[in-house]
Symmetry: C2
Subunit: 342 residues, 2 copies
DNA sequence: AACCAAGATGCAATCGATTGCATAAATAAA
DNA sequence: TTTATTTATGCAATCGATTGCATCTTGGTT
């Protein structure tokens, strides 16, 4: 059993008294090798417990069949869904997926990018971190013609494939829904505006208001980092001000939840007095009390699509690629936190 | 900008009129190279935009600095936490992490294992799928002396590092806590007993009862698949029986939640009339109403520990490794669903 | 029988970084 | 100055699979 030394195609060749090139070709089902020898070779390979040294092959062919993925945090439902989608497609096509998380830290993102590049991944799928304003480390891939797909948090300046969620539409629908539920003073707890997604959510919110003839009141918009604490404080500020809002559209579910918590702690009824809609459909949003209305982002589908796009580009001999920007639709999920009895 | 052709150490060598070996050594900070030349070389490398071809280096040195991870499902909080922990440690030590999911499918798990092996990962960290009864594909690593760490769902027959959670202890503490809160008729909604982890949880529950002088009543134990539905039905059955239990220890948080939902729907107060403790500390358990008491499994720590173990083994010149089986402690988190006012 | 084409296999170079050993240069000791 | 010693650098082989080109078989055709 214990077989420690590497078995190479040369070992097989020697045993069968043929050349290594023939072995190589046979194992790759090259039709130029006769049926008979191919079978002999495969049989021998099997018996000898041969496992190809992919490192050697990669080195020679300059392909790794590896896709690098960079996300801010693996341990978050949206991103792990995307990864799951990527993995699903990539695996079927014979690709390996290497995953790294930037922790929303620019320095780490840069290191990861250089590492992936040095590892000669065939392509990169990524969503940038909150701090990412410099983009030299990403330009690297563009310059060297390494296929790249941005998703969700994209970099506009780099011309490549992009998959985004229709944040504008989602925010619009969320806000519109709040209006339909009878709200008229609708606040917004938003994210950092240097990220396009939060800008678009905010724009969708504003557009829905103005389409309904409601003037946008900047005192009702609070931007922050969308952590639990941010939502709590923002809600406090909104509620304690004179002329309290009767609804809040939050740019993620975390702040929606912390808003609800603050409101409940202060005896303000959700949704009767303040209706809430979040964003992202985090798993907890459907099990908390009240369940949180939110916008579903199709993470798994985004992942699949990203993998398909990048594999297509990897396999197309890199000439004249037409870059696509895919906008994924969103879906409004109405739950208790915004549904007012009529 | 557009720099398409590979820059190698030979290009640097040629430009500086020195040999490639000197360049290689200088870039690796080999002290045998003089300060002066090292600086010249590094400067030139920087200027020329040199990026080492790690494929070539890996091939030569037979190390990939890559750790392969196989989990049943990426998109689940426990596993993504573990991955996060692995990634954290591995990254700091200069390792790359490759992640694959088996989807609890034996065939896919086998394919992944062979792929990882062919890619010559330096080590493998894995939690097996539900279907995994054959283990040839895992023996492969053991035979070829590839470092391996099992976590959570381990294979007993393979002698290697293992990291498991102390399910017995966790269940014991949960049950004990319920007793301390004044409960005396404590039910258990358990998982399939062919999985070790659920067997141990049940054993811990029974031991805690008998240690407290409470006889185990089998009519209070219901085993199932621990889905939402299972918890709901089990609770119904328990509650509608004569002599209703005054507490339930659930083998996961999902059933704990559905138990709570059933109880609330039927006007039974949690925790006053029936106290509940779950298991796993799923993210939702701290945000639902009431918040759910549960047992924390240190996923992130398990990941870190697994990475540390495997890296240690990779770096130790593979002679005489002592395999460790680490049992991670659990922590009881007391929340509203079990805390009775005194 | 002579020639050709198609089919099957082998030869040898190649990818880029690493590394044991040899050598050259610089310094110290005699 | 000569020899030993240290320090710095170069030479060349190597890792295993791939692949363009050369070579050898074989059978078919005239």
């Amino acid at each position: 059993m214990g077989n420690q030394s590497e078995i190479t195609i040369h070992d097989i060749a020697k045993k069968l008294n043929i050349s290594a090139s023939t072995v190589s070709r046979a194992l790759k089902d090259n039709p130029i090798i006769s049926e008979a020898t191919r079978k002999r070779i495969k049989k021998a390979a099997e018996e000898m417990g041969y496992r190809p040294n992919i490192m050697a092959a990669n080195f020679r062919t300059k392909r790794t069949n590896t896709i690098g993925v960079i996300v801010p945090l693996i341990n978050r439902h949206f991103f792990s869904s995307v990864i799951s989608g990527i993995e699903e497609v990539a695996y079927d096509q014979g690709f390996t997926v290497t995953i790294s998380q930037s922790n929303d830290n620019l320095e780490k993102e840069q290191k990861i990018a250089y590492t992936l590049f040095s590892n000669r991944v065939d392509g990169v799928i990524l969503s940038i971190g909150m701090e990412t304003k410099e983009i030299d480390h990403l330009q690297l891939f563009a310059n060297r013609k390494v296929p790249m797909v941005f998703f969700d948090r994209i970099v506009e300046e780099i011309e490549t494939h992009k998959i985004i969620v229709n944040d504008f539409e989602g925010a619009y629908k969320a806000t519109q829904h709040l209006i339909e539920q009878g709200a008229s003073r609708i606040a917004h707890i938003g994210g950092p505006l240097n990220l396009k997604i939060y800008e678009n959510r905010q724009k969708g919110y504003c557009k829905a208001l103005s389409d309904a003839g409601i003037e946008v009141d900047n005192s009702l918009i609070i931007n922050g980092n969308l952590r639990r604490d941010d939502g709590y404080k923002a809600t406090k500020k909104l509620v304690l001000a004179e002329n309290r809002p009767d609804a809040i559209f939050c740019a993620n579910d975390t702040t929606a939840l912390s808003a609800i918590i603050f409101l409940q702690e202060n005896g303000i009824k959700v949704p009767e007095e303040v209706a809430i809609v979040g964003f992202s459909n985090e798993p907890f949003s459907q099990v908390v009390t009240p369940t949180i209305s939110t916008i579903r982002q199709p993470g798994f589908l985004i992942g699949k699509k990203a993998a398909e796009l990048i594999i297509k580009q990897i396999n197309s001999n890199k000439k004249s690629v037409v870059y696509e920007t895919i906008v994924m639709p969103t879906e409004l999920i109405i739950r208790e936190s915004s549904k007012r009895k009529k």
